[in-house]
């Protein structure tokens, strides 16, 4: 049975971490709530400040809120906020609603904010946590997971033929290929490939795979390790997707599904969900940031670039 509380907490954490990933390897401040819908004259008071800012739709949809922030709805209509206990509908009769803190994770202590700030003031880590090495293979990205029936290979286009192959991780079984394709195409979706992956999983039960890409007439090849979900993971994923389908709708449903796919490293599917969420509220800069991060993990550089251009043209975040 799925742990509902955990899932809702995790979506908020993941969503907050995704937004911060560009600027920091790890974030200590967590988003404890998100604006899902603004159907009234709504106001936000950030924790520790006296001033109020007006919330508007669609600009502030998916805006991250910290524990202690307060929101209010005045007049007719309602405001919906996703918090760790579920979606909260706020009307004028509720007066101010304070965003509750995320439930503590017993396994890991909370960071001391004062110490964290002092450490950041002093310097930065002189150690590796750096960038990924450039690879021609865009998808699957390293360590990602895929579903056989939706599997697509993407690479940085090359003006020559390339040879693709999928092998077991120990390289003792060639599951598909080697197949020569046009390097300029940049992607390949093949029924034969999907079928081969499904067959391998059913017969051998293996999930760890390697995709190799070799430019024709070249010994310079690249490989990426990825995996198929095993039966248990697929069951868990489906349970989570069912939960989101039954308990949420609209934007919350898309965010929830995006989280679940991310958790199982199905980054391409996660990016699709975040893209859908963005298309439902295209003016939300916060959803744009989420979609950029998701597409980056899914190895879609052109989409990332397009979204970044859109982000650059957006007005500055006013409520963060």
């Amino acid at each position: 049975m799925m742990n509902i509380r955990f899932s809702l907490t995790a979506i908020l954490l993941v969503a907050s971490a995704a937004g911060a990933a560009d600027s920091q390897a790890q974030t200590t401040g967590a988003v404890a709530g998100r604006i899902v819908s603004v159907q009234c004259a709504a106001h936000l008071q950030k924790n520790g400040t006296q001033g109020e800012v007006q919330l508007s739709s669609p600009r502030d949809i998916a805006l991250g809120l910290s524990a202690g922030d307060r929101v209010q709805c005045t007049g007719a209509g309602y405001l919906e906020v996703l918090v760790s206990t579920g979606t909260k509908k706020i009307t004028a009769s509720d007066s101010w609603f304070t965003i509750p803190p995320l439930p503590p994770d017993p396994a890991f202590p909370k960071a001391d904010a004062v110490i964290a700030q002092s450490l950041a003031n002093y310097g930065r880590a002189g150690a590796t946590r750096g960038n990924a090495t450039d690879s021609r293979i865009l998808w699957p990205s390293a360590n990602a997971a895929v579903l056989p029936d939706r599997f697509v290979i993407r690479w940085a286009p090359l003006p020559q033929k390339i040879v693709l192959a999928v092998m077991s991780e120990s390289k003792d079984v060639t599951i598909w290929g080697p197949t020569e394709v046009d390097g300029g195409a940049g992607s390949l979706k093949s029924a034969a490939l999907s079928s081969a992956l499904t067959g391998y999983k059913a017969k051998a039960g293996g999930t760890a795979l390697i995709l190799t890409l070799t430019p024709a007439k070249s010994s310079d090849w690249e490989e990426v390790h990825f995996s198929l979900l095993n039966a248990r993971q697929e069951q868990e994923l489906n349970a989570q997707l069912d939960f989101w389908g039954k308990n949420t709708g609209g934007l919350a449903l898309l965010l929830g599904r995006g989280y679940s796919y991310s958790r199982f490293k199905l980054f391409a599917d996660a990016a699709d969900e975040y893209d859908s969420a963005l298309s439902s509220v295209p003016e939300s800069r916060y959803l744009l940031e989420d979609a950029i991060q998701a597409n980056r993990l899914a190895g879609r550089p052109s989409r990332v670039k397009e979204l970044q251009t859109r982000l650059a043209s957006q007005p500055e975040a006013v409520n963060q």
Binding site: D105, S118, A125, A127, G130
Partner: protein, 417 residues
Amino acid sequence: MSLAITGVMILIKLQIEKTDFGKQIESMSYDLLQHHLSAPATIHDLPVIVLDISGIEMRPTLGSQPALVTDRAPLRSIVEQLVKLPNPPKAIGLDVDFSPDSHGYAHPDDPSLFDFFLSQKIPITIGVNSSLALGPQRWLNDPKYIDLASCVVVPKPDQGQSTRYMPEETVVNYPTPMSRGIDEHCSSMAFALEYDTVKNFSSGLGWFVDTSRVKSDRQVTNSEFLVDYSPLQLLASSPPDALNPDELAKADLKDKIVLLGRTKNTTDTFTVPGKPEQPYAGVFLHACAIYTMENRPLYRLTDSGRIAIDFLFSLIIFGPFLLYRLSRHKQGKEVVVEHRFVGRLINFEALLLVVFAVWLVRYTHLMWDDFLLVAIVLVAHAPIEHATVGIGRWLDESLRSGRHASPPSSGPPSEGE
């Protein structure tokens, strides 16, 4: 009068030091001194070696940690190879930030990797930074891993400078309800591997020079020391690829401290004194810190030492004139020194000062970063001297006219200049 001129010149120099121009000159002086520290002849003379792990892929981890982190399997494999070498290294440092956060480990495989490191006979240390905020003993989440942790922070440089200092240790005070809190000491990677502190100046010259300084910000205190970057070029020129067994076999690792770090395609790059044109990966800074600890520390002037050395050098230059003038006065002779001669002599002495400060640094290790300012002020002494002499004469004449108004005195004549 010469003493007054010296005092005025020191005051002027102290004011210039506070300006952007003064800071630039000091930075230039420090770079010059770093350049002239004696570098080891070959890589074999170094106590530390950097092995490049740039070839290891960065893996995305999702859930609590969406960032890319260094893949753990190749890291483990490299360490396994190193500890199995017939002539294994003395110690191994992994310049990789393993900091967990309040949501979990940086990589799911970290606990098993840490267990593996702890089981080795060779001392192994790994990097942490932000996780110091998680609480005492929690830097690698589980207290049983605390002995593996070392701090890999590189301090922000002072304004107008590059990274001169590296920390020796970071002390974090964790608040407790009933006491002043618990102090936990996180050794820097260099200190954790070298097991030695930077030697302090033990003689009576502590008021004049020291080897470290302390920086505090609320609950975090860092003691830091000046780093000798003279081996940087040797370390950074084609470090062996840790993923290449042939290169690993060729590298002379016996009794050396081995640092594993990403030297390319990394975000942890820093500029260092003497080489401002190129940023260097953090692992090289840690290696130079180890070298400094193993070798000789660099000395910095204390505030009192700085004033003393400024005064001393000014006095060395003006002292002979002072003595000459005093002796001429005592003999009742007129003081005749051609100004042009004085100017040339002082310029020559300023030049000597520069040459000696730079040339001697390889022996003294004294990073006297305002020697150029002192030299500049000395060279520009003429207008200062004229102004000071003018004021002195005016005072003298005022006193004389005061004496003429009162009954005649039988005291000695005033000294004049």
